[in-house]
């Protein structure tokens, strides 16, 4: 096994082209569990920690750019939290402080778990994912990037650069059901925005289908919206909860989220 530590994005993309079977690692909070338990034995690991281009966030012509290496701790800081509040709320529920210090948006997208907590807040703000290879960049909506449980549209020679979204600046929230307030993978989760500007409710659920997904309706349909979201989900029974419980919980969460956002 070999660890490559590129210093620039160009170098990282060249390694990615040269070693298509290499495993990128950023915060390591998903990758290291696999390495420690012998579930992954990549020949090559590409350590992205020194690639500055992936870090941090910036305002960009009315939009917000979130680098793939943005940590949950950074997403909770007040300036960014004011722009993408549901993402900040979701970030606070991730793991524990040390996990939030290391875990990143790019890693959450890379893992593409149906329970990834960054995904619903990004879906309601209609985020786009930017990918790059040595041949250039491409952008696709997050909903098209997420293909299935732990499956995404990343090609073997690509890296996730980050996501871009235009903050709706509308009331939004994130809620997650689990046995504790910390250190839990969601049994199910919901992000919701009540967008008066566009006369629209947008909700995205996590852990209640093969991928986190978006459901929308006009504001006028608020009374039926919780049921609509619950029926759009396709949850399964697993160790964390039953499908029936998840559907019920989604209904409850969406109603609470609407009450919180439409006052």
């Amino acid at each position: 096994m070999d660890v490559l530590t590129p210093r620039t994005l160009d170098e990282a993309l060249r390694y990615r082209a040269e070693y298509p079977n290499a495993l990128p690692i950023q915060g390591g909070t998903d990758v290291m569990v696999d390495l420690n338990f012998d579930r992954a034995r990549p020949e090559t690991v590409i350590n992205l920690n020194a690639v500055r281009e992936l870090r941090s966030w910036r305002r960009d012509n009315g939009a917000v750019w979130l680098g793939a290496a943005l940590t949950y701790t950074e997403a909770m800081e007040s300036e960014l939290a004011a722009l993408v509040p549901a993402l900040a709320e979701a970030s606070r529920t991730v793991g524990s402080r040390p996990i939030r210090n290391r875990g990143t948006l790019g890693g959450n997208l890379g893992t593409a778990s149906p329970a990834g907590d960054a995904l619903p807040p990004l879906l309601i703000e209609e985020a786009e994912v930017a990918l790059a290879s040595v041949d250039g960049e491409r952008t696709l909506p997050l909903s098209e990037f997420l293909l299935g449980p732990k499956k995404n549209a990343l090609a073997t020679d690509e890296l996730i650069l980050g996501v871009r979204l235009t903050p709706s600046a509308q009331p939004q929230t994130f809620m997650k059901v689990g046995p504790r307030n910390a250190m839990v993978i969601a049994i199910c989760s919901v992000a919701l925005v009540a967008d008066r500007e566009r006369d629209e409710l947008r909700a995205a659920f996590g852990s209640a289908g093969p991928v986190a997904s978006l459901v929308t309706a006009p504001l006028g349909e608020r009374d039926a919206f919780a049921t609509a979201v619950a029926s759009a989900a396709s949850p399964i029974d697993d160790v964390r909860g039953t499908a029936a419980y998840r559907r019920h919980a989604l209904d409850v969460l969406v109603n609470r989220a609407i009450d919180r956002c439409l006052v």
């Binding site: 390495l35 420690n36 350590n47 524990s96 402080r97 040390p98 290391r102 504790r180």
Partner: protein, 156 residues
């Protein structure tokens, strides 16, 4: 492969297997067994260290990612033969039973008090949510963190 880094203020170098964690490097290559290995999956916090001043689970950092960086382990908290205030408070409050979780809790509590010297119970619980203790029931741990904070803030 070789990794060069600063550990508890000292320049160190270790020869590692590229797939190993910072925790394994600290314990097995650098002779620092203070950081404990209990779960190797980020669930227990007993391996907590500071990486460039940031609280992390050392079991989830690839050792090679620590190249050129500064790590502080529980062994590095006591200065000039004096216990760190958090360590003293843990002893005085009886916040230690078997002691396995203690190094991680001490590092995490020191990190919390660094940014917030007088945390509330809720703030302590949130900050230490990733540290599991199977013995104490946490009440004395919270007492200890409060006492250490008050001591450091200079109040009686």
């Amino acid at each position: 492969m070789k990794v060069a880094l600063t550990v508890n203020g000292e320049a160190r170098e270790a020869t590692i297997w590229p797939g190993e964690s910072l925790l394994v490097m600290l314990r097995d290559r650098l002779g620092l067994p203070g950081s404990k290995n209990a779960c190797e999956q980020g669930e227990c916090g007993s391996c907590a260290v500071l990486l460039d001043g940031e609280l992390v689970c050392s079991c989830l950092v690839l050792a090679a990612q620590a190249e050129g960086r500064a790590v502080v382990t529980v062994e590095g908290l006591a200065a000039n033969g004096e216990l760190h205030p958090v360590q003293r408070a843990f002893v005085e409050a009886g916040a230690v039973q078997c002691g396995f979780c203690t190094p991680g809790l001490v590092v995490a509590a020191a990190d919390l008090l660094d940014s917030n010297a007088t945390p509330t119970d809720d703030e302590i619980r949130e900050a230490l949510a990733g540290n599991l203790c199977r013995c104490t029931g946490y009440a004395k741990i919270i007492d200890a963190v409060k006492a250490a904070g008050t001591a450091a803030a200079g109040s009686p």
